[in-house]
Amino acid sequence: MSTRTLSLLEAVREALAEEMARDPRVVLLGEDIGLLGGVFRATDGLLDRFGPERVIDTPMAETAIAGIAMGLAMRGLRPVAEIQFADFMHSAMDHIVGEAAKLRYRTGGDWTAPMVVRTAYGGGFRGGPYHSQSIEAFYSHVPGLKVLAPSFPDDAKGMLTAAIRDLDPVLFLEHKRTYRAITGPVPEGEHVVDDGRLRVARAGDALTIVGWGMMLHEALAAAEELAAEGVEAEVLDLRWLLPLDREGLLDSLRRTGRLLVVHEDTLTMGLGAELCALAAEAGVLRAPPVRVAMPDIGGIPVADRMEDAAIPDRRQVVAAARRLLEKSPSPTGRVGVGEAYDPTIPEAASVVEVRMGEAHLEAVLAAVAEACRAVPQCNATFTWDEIRLHDQVSVDLDLGPLSPARGGGTFTLVDYGPAGSLLGLPAVRPGQTATLRVGAVREGRAYLALSVDHRAVDGADAGRFLATLKGRLEA
């Protein structure tokens, strides 16, 4: 496919024009998008080409823009709403977070809202507190919504095209400084980037730097400086902020073991916190992670020196990378998938009461092996690509703090013996889909609690597993 060099802004405009030409259901609405062509000119020329029925200049009414876009989407149209500045989106938030993102869920799929809300975010323009904000953290906390933030022109075209065709509501974040400052090759004609995966913008093995929007370019510049010192940083362009590409992040961290997140949004409760938590929970870090972010200040100041000091840049990224590389391995960190608890696993637990004696471990082990063969989903590994069923059953035994599970097995059995509690719900170990905990035996009976990774094992499977176990033990 042939490409030309376009700015990110031109790539956005091209995606809008091509999708409008391809699909008559696509309509644009927003403030100043028609006659003016948008305050950044993202919609320049589209009114002339597609007419006022499909390129709608609205009054200054952000709430109605979002609400009306949802109504249009409910009729099968494909609205693309523009909120002129991300800072103005707060009054539309109810219709994005409370309405469009929940519509499919609250109607059991009867009504849906396939709509896009585009907005310009980010500082560096002397815009002050109300024309500079980054808003991704607010919206990346909203299941049902997708949040996309391209950093390169080819992605701006391909991801916006994918967003318009998406069956779910999408918030599409365009960093103002990338509009004209970032140029690059963009395929001519249809170009769709809909894989939901992060993009390895630069390969390396010393550390992983994650960014998006303008900060991704600061990270790339920092990586060049580090390379001059002989340090090869891997730079990940997160681009899909929600849903997150967890596997893509962990793949990189399993090789580098060191994480540096850079975002222009403020530090506390920013996306960096979630990325660091994911990495920590997966046990893939060799050193504590580092975040470079806007400090927690009340707004972005307009005065030159204050704004420049507030927005992170490549020098801060380089300094943070050096600190990260100097850090010794963290005392609690582990490399590779260990027995660390992973709270992102959606767990469900079921319990049965079984007749059994004080000495039961051999019998329980045999019964677990039989139940794992009968219900192989419980003897499996979940990834976002597949549920891998294991041919062999290998039980990790967790017999208490003095004799914890060694790891490496396909199923975990927890039994603290007579000292244990009557009933405890165990955690599912990363890499496994089920854990069984045997409660203390009282008067010849004990509770067996099975926790499962609900993405791999449904309630009926868990029930069959426990029924097999109980049948075998009471036979």
Binding site: E53, G67, I68, R75, P79, E99, Y105, R106, W111, P143
Partner: protein, 315 residues
């Protein structure tokens, strides 16, 4: 199109019987939540019977049980929603009672915060324009909702583009407990139509024929491409706001008793043959009882179903 008074009475009587049954079920702990419609039924029946069922769209007020029955939801379907059963056609067990919605019946999904559905309804109406259909969208909301800023945004835009929409405020003079004198500097909300340059009309919302006639006029205008209308239908809510409300804290009993003298059910009954009305009431009572009993016995969804429908690919 004149109103079939027997049919209107049947809708109102059925809504009333269901309403009273829901109130008892919620208060006795057999259901989560009741949202009374008593006092609002003539509005729901009046506009519901004026729309083309299954063709036009409704973004309803939560007190519009009568409208839902008029356009074709069955008492059994309504009670499935009331009990949040697995086959609840409005919200699939995810939203409490009176959060109407049904694609098949053209009912725009209703949400919790009022009246967010007003802008959605304008978008739905705009869809008719862009798709070249003659489908009208009826948007109903309360006098409380009418005070929200986004209602202004929605009405302004609908007026600019002459969208095929009817805005109907069901004015019962309270936002839960807050009386109209603290809601708005003028109680005649319908007068706001003039600000948008669209026709406005205030009707007696206790008289089903008056509502129906006004609805027919507004719907005809919208269908003919002449744009939006703003109707104010004045009524009174006979029961508390919801089963969790205590209206004795904010409404004198004398006021409620006086309002009940103009009960829409009784007003319509006077125009019907008494024996015929008795027969309809009898039938409505049986229908409501049977539907409630049937729906209560239907299964709930499995807990696993909570993972469905967050995204298209999780559906």
């Amino acid at each position: 199109m004149t109103l079939d008074l027997d049919r209107a009475y049947q809708v109102i009587s059925t809504a009333r019987q269901m309403d009273e049954r829901m109130w008892r079920l919620a208060r006795s702990g057999r259901a989560h939540f009741a949202v009374p419609c008593s006092g609002h039924e003539a509005i729901g029946a009046g506009y519901g019977l004026a729309l083309r069922a299954g063709h036009d769209f409704v973004a309803p007020h939560y007190r519009d049980l009568a409208a839902m029955l008029a356009i074709g939801l069955t008492p059994r379907e309504v009670f499935l929603h009331f009990f949040a059963r697995r086959d609840d056609p409005c919200a699939h067990g995810r939203q409490p009672y009176a959060h109407w919605g049904s694609r098949a019946h053209g009912v725009v999904s209703l949400q919790g915060p009022q009246p967010n559905h007003v802008t959605h309804g304008v978008g739905v109406a705009w869809g008719s324009r862009l798709l070249g259909t003659d489908q009208v969208t009826w948007i109903a909301f309360g006098d409380g909702g009418a005070q929200k800023g986004e209602v202004h945004e929605a009405m302004n835009i609908a007026a600019i583009h002459k969208l095929p929409v009817v805005f109907c405020v069901e004015n019962n003079f309270y936002t839960q407990s807050v009386p109209s004198r603290l809601e708005s500097s003028r109680p005649d909300i319908g007068a706001r139509a003039a600000a948008y340059g669209i026709p406005g009309e205030s009707v007696d919302g206790m008289e089903v024929e008056a509502v129906h006639e006004a609805a027919l006029r507004a719907i005809a205008r919208a269908r003919a491409g002449e744009g939006a209308t703003f109707l104010e239908a004045r009524c009174y809510r006979f029961l508390p706001n919801t089963s969790n409300d205590d209206d004795t804290r904010y409404r004198p009993r004398e006021e409620v008793e006086e309002a009940r003298l103009r009960d829409p059910l009784a007003l319509l009954r006077q125009k019907l043959d008494a024996a015929r009305a008795d027969a309809i009431d009898e039938e409505a009572m049986t229908l409501a009882a049977e539907a409630a009993e049937w729906a209560e016995a239907q299964p709930e969804g499995d807990p696993e179903e909570m993972f469905e429908h967050t995204y298209a690919l999780s559906s």
